[in-house]
Symmetry: C2
């Protein structure tokens, strides 16, 4: 790889470097001298650079990313965990992972889905008659106000079992998971309207609407796509399912969506592939999907007027399918909500510029990004001007009459983000570069090599109305040879690139150790104001209210009721009270546990042997746990967070007497 640094120290600057750090050492006494030489022959920076194979550009990159103890990062990047089903919080520029947030997958360290009320959030939506305990998360989206990140919530999706989750950034906890059986898979999610009125979720692989069966031979007639608009209540911080709606779409593979902003506010755009409507059938003598789906030179950019759709829904022109108010395709056509514009060769990526005037689409098998003109599209739709219709009667707008132009960018352009100086940055998969180009003249100004299989890329607030420039991360799916080997399943590789100045420079390679990040969002750190503790003690984190069974010190008790044995328990360094719980085999046990501490980071865990239970009790948090004591025996319970010198002694016994 061109990025692979050479271990090379010039005699000239190397000697000056030596001089400097010797000087540093001189100032700091033994410590710095030691630090400079510690563990290596010699004791100067030249030998340090040589020993570690650092080139001068590496020294600069190190100083731009190294974040000393106690210093905080400038930005947070929230990356999807892909099929890990969790959310990854990364500090930029240090590229240190600050937290994994459990969303669709149980997470025992966070006590998420391991016995307390968080399990109700995790298991709210079933699919195919089954409980689903993982997800294929793709596109996180911050809540926005006026097209800018407001730092309140982040939304994430599940491609495999269509669901959307709401994560509250006040405590970095998942609060809600919703899903509809209208669609059988999705991809173009989550994307928010500029004031987060709606969270957009779009199907990918067509299927009969509503989860019913239809023979695949009836693909054209009975398989469909759809775009769901989940209504979000910003005050409550919850999606309101009853106020949500959907629009039926033809059985193409709708791909990535983005919402209009400013001049294009009220619109949403979505690219598509497989207008050929291929569905594979290799063993049945048909071509594989990847060739069947790549026959056409053009697919369709979907242009949807969601604000007008809202009015159509209010007017009651919907049909309810699987509980979702759905605007049927013919209604969408009749009401002039939907039009198509041709897109060259297996389009991918769909990104609206900060000023809202343009939509940038890549072509996986093309060498251009195409820049569409939002106003020209709106004008043609208003005038009901079209050059034809697709097989389902959707108007097709004139291609040349809908674009600003194209940028000759290289083979396999995918996604595009923006900076504060009028430049766009596009990931180019086959060429494995990030291309920087000007939105003014659609000319490339620089390309920087990345490692293999770059997919999405993210820039600091780079999809808002006011990007920051500053940092960009190339999300590379392959990592071979980049890191010390870890067996056949490799991490992914985030490459941090400095876009703060005229020239892009690589700063850091970061392995992703768990999950395959698909897309991410990067937000200025000062926009987040998370809480330190739950105040007052006894808060249920799902409702942020004091729980009715919250327990105060001195009020601990055990009562046998009709529905089982209730235990009101407190946790405080270094004991649980009660610490002996006596029940009978077969009893249903209700534990109401409050961590009464209010000191920052004074978290306790409560693990119970044999019950598959571990809850996390951050300061002030209250957990309600219900389980059946199936088997007579003696089950120790104890604190799973190292909380004090006597942490090991923070334990008790669940005594399950035989019947």
């Amino acid at each position: 790889m061109p990025l692979h640094p050479r271990s090379r120290v010039s005699s000239v600057s190397g000697l000056i470097a030596l001089a400097v750090l010797a000087a540093c050492g001189g100032r700091n006494g033994n410590q710095a001298n030691q630090a400079a030489g510690g563990g290596w022959a010699g004791g100067d920076v030249v030998s340090l650079m040589q020993a570690r194979g650092l080139a001068e550009k590496d020294v600069v990159a190190a100083l731009k990313t190294y974040t000393p103890t106690g210093k905080h990062d400038e930005y947070y990047t929230f990356a999807s965990g892909g099929h890990g089903g969790n959310l990854i919080v990364i500090g930029v520029p240090s590229m240190r992972i600050l937290k994994y947030v459990g969303v669709f997958t149980p997470e025992p360290w966070q006590g998420y889905g391991y016995g307390d009320q968080s399990g109700d959030v995790l298991r709210a939506v079933k699919k195919g008659g089954n409980e689903i305990t993982w997800a294929d998360m793709h596109h996180p989206a911050f809540s926005e106000t006026g097209g800018d990140y407001d730092g309140k919530y982040i939304f994430v999706n599940d491609k495999c079992n269509p669901r959307v989750a709401v994560v509250d950034l006040s405590d970095f906890c998942t609060k809600q998971i919703v899903g509809s059986d209208l669609i059988a898979s999705e991809h173009g999610a989550t994307f928010v309207t500029p004031d987060t009125d709606y969270v957009v979720e779009t199907s990918q692989y067509p299927a009969p609407l509503g989860g019913v069966y239809a023979p695949i031979e009836e693909f054209d007639a009975r398989y469909r796509g759809a775009m769901i608009f989940w209504k979000f209540d910003k005050q409550k911080g919850r999606i309101v399912e009853a106020e949500s709606f959907a629009i039926e779409l033809p059985p193409y593979m709708q791909d990535l969506a983005d919402c209009g902003k400013k001049v294009s506010d009220g619109w949403v755009y979505c690219n598509s592939i497989n207008t050929e409507r291929a569905y594979g059938g290799i063993l049945e003598g048909k071509p594989p999907l990847e060739s069947g789906a790549t026959q056409n030179d053009m697919d369709y950019l979907h242009c949807i007027h969601w604000r007008q759709a809202e009015a159509v829904v209010k007017a009651g022109k919907t049909e309810t399918i699987a509980g979702m108010r759905t605007i049927r395709l013919q209604t969408a056509i009749d009401e002039n909500l939907l039009a198509f514009v041709p897109q060259p060769k297996s389009p991918h990526g769909c990104d609206v510029t900060p000023d809202g005037t343009a939509i940038v689409v890549g072509g996986k098998l093309d060498t251009h990004t195409t820049v569409y003109d939002a106003l020209k599209i709106a004008a043609q739709m208003a005038a009901k001007k079209s050059v034809g219709k697709d097989p389902y009667g959707v108007p097709i707008l004139d291609y040349q009459g809908s674009i600003f132009g194209q940028c000759e960018i290289g083979l396999g352009p995918l996604h595009t983000v923006f900076d504060d100086k009028g430049f766009a940055y596009t990931s180019v998969f086959i060429e494995t570069v990030v291309a920087k180009w000007s939105l003014k003249d659609l000319k490339v100004v620089q390309k920087i090599d990345t490692h293999f299989n770059i997919g999405h890329l993210v820039a600091a607030e780079g999809d808002t109305v006011s990007p920051d420039g500053r940092y960009l991360i190339a999300m590379n799916k392959w990592a071979l040879d980049r890191f010390a080997p870890v067996g056949p399943l490799l991490p992914q590789n985030f490459q941090l690139i400095d876009i703060g100045g005229p020239t892009m420079t690589l700063l850091y390679d970061m392995p992703l150790p768990l999950g395959e990040p698909h897309n991410a969002q990067m937000i200025k750190a000062d926009k987040l104001k998370p809480i330190d503790v739950y105040k007052p003690a006894g808060i249920d984190p799902i409702t942020h209210q004091v729980d009715k069974d919250a327990v105060e010190l001195g009020k601990e008790r055990i009562e046998r009721k009709n529905d089982g044995v209730h235990v009101w328990m407190t946790a405080v360094r270094s004991h649980f009270s009660p610490d002996i719980v006596r029940v009978k085999e077969g009893d249903v046990v209700h534990l109401h546990v409050t961590n009464v501490e209010q000191a920052h980071d004074a978290t306790h865990g409560l693990a119970i042997g044999g019950q598959n239970i571990n809850v996390s009790l951050e300061p002030g948090k209250h957990c309600n746990i219900v389980f059946t004591a199936n088997k007579a025996g003696v089950y120790p319970f104890y604190c799973t967070e190292f909380c004090s010198a006597l942490h090991l002694e923070m334990a008790g016994y669940l005594l399950v007497e035989p019947k």
Copy 2:
């Protein structure tokens, strides 16, 4: 915190620094100049240091840890994921997390426990009549040969539901989980004998042996501890349960263990707390455990002659309890396998020196580490010299006659590791420092501040017969104010310390984003030789053999049999074959899927809608998946690993026809 760096640049060395990097810039042209200044006013390193608040010692630390693209780390650290139930692989000195390895907790990104044969490993051991899908992992241990890490396997434990897992370092996958109902909880696990004949697992909270019930009022008479010796077959890479055995112990809280080596080979040592035999009972008028368990000035170091115990087992002097051959306590006493030596004030930590002559124990409520003499202990036991007996008849050896001496180390010493120069490094919890002291004269030579709640610490091969010195990691459980805030549940904080020279210096603060690492082991990178792909294609990773249902290209097929529908499927960029699977509602479906690729990193995933299934198909890997198609409908399946430009098109349909 004293560690908090000051943003200070001396005029003198700062100016020299400016000179250097200007020189670097000169040599590298625009790029380096830009890199140095990119995004900041100014354009030199002084302004860079000022902008980022870097002191000169930070510059040195940055150069000692920054690892450029393509350069590999020198060491791997394997840290337990605590109650995350997974294993964390970290590169040193970059402190980048290279991989999370699923062990006791399902992990969809790795396809671990989400539909294929790995679920049989994960769910092999039930507890309390329940399936257990998490763990509280504490102490990883590499397999050893002659007391040195051999890089073949790593073992991990579950404190909450006593189990031990075997992870194969050839592919970083979990191969076996075993557990015994003899004990109800553990802590002193895993620790290996010098040639990995046995993996040691020791109980923590006493309970009746064998998982039976006994009233807690019969604690002294019927509750017990035990140490299990799991027999390991190095050739097969598996624990052999039938050849394993245990030794019954009094109902104290056995804590941490370490195996003798060289002169003390054949022995294992284990400290203990709560010789008071307190068990809490706060609501029942008794003192909380943490005060009941800290009344005595001395507890007992357990000294166990495991080689002799092996002979006693061979002689058949055991009783089988819950399937485990157990040497009863009286037999252990009669056969002279077990003796106690007093230990001052709430002992914690138990670490044998590299030469095997001494055992170092801390005292949580003490100010000393006590250094025990393995040979004096052995001599007293051989001569059957004791100064008394505990309430269970276990001989107590003379304290003064069993120690080298004590080191005055500070308040709250816990764990100790070693370097190659005769120094020991002890974590001191209450004082929050790492103390470096000489094994020769038991004098402290330096203390370095750490952040809050330091627990374990790990040094490069620092618990083997030949430590490397070089690096040490302080594992701090609290992180308040160290990192950008992430809500009430904080990461932990690993602090990398350079111990390569005469003075310890802090290099890096690393947040732990998922799980609470408890202990870790650090191994030289060149000792691991993991495979890149499974060869030939069709390998079952559990057995490392070609699976009987492995599928070759062109041999794909679907057959209905008595036990359901069998599908022999291949995965290759960019399709599955077959890509259409037709079954009837209620059918049991058997998918036999081989990734026929042999290219490094050409991993595919297979996710199936509605079935809670996602498997990871690394190159050459074969998965066997069984599920019941519960509900009629159309379920897309697709590749979950971004594998090619046409990855989105790598999809198919599971068609479940109504009955």
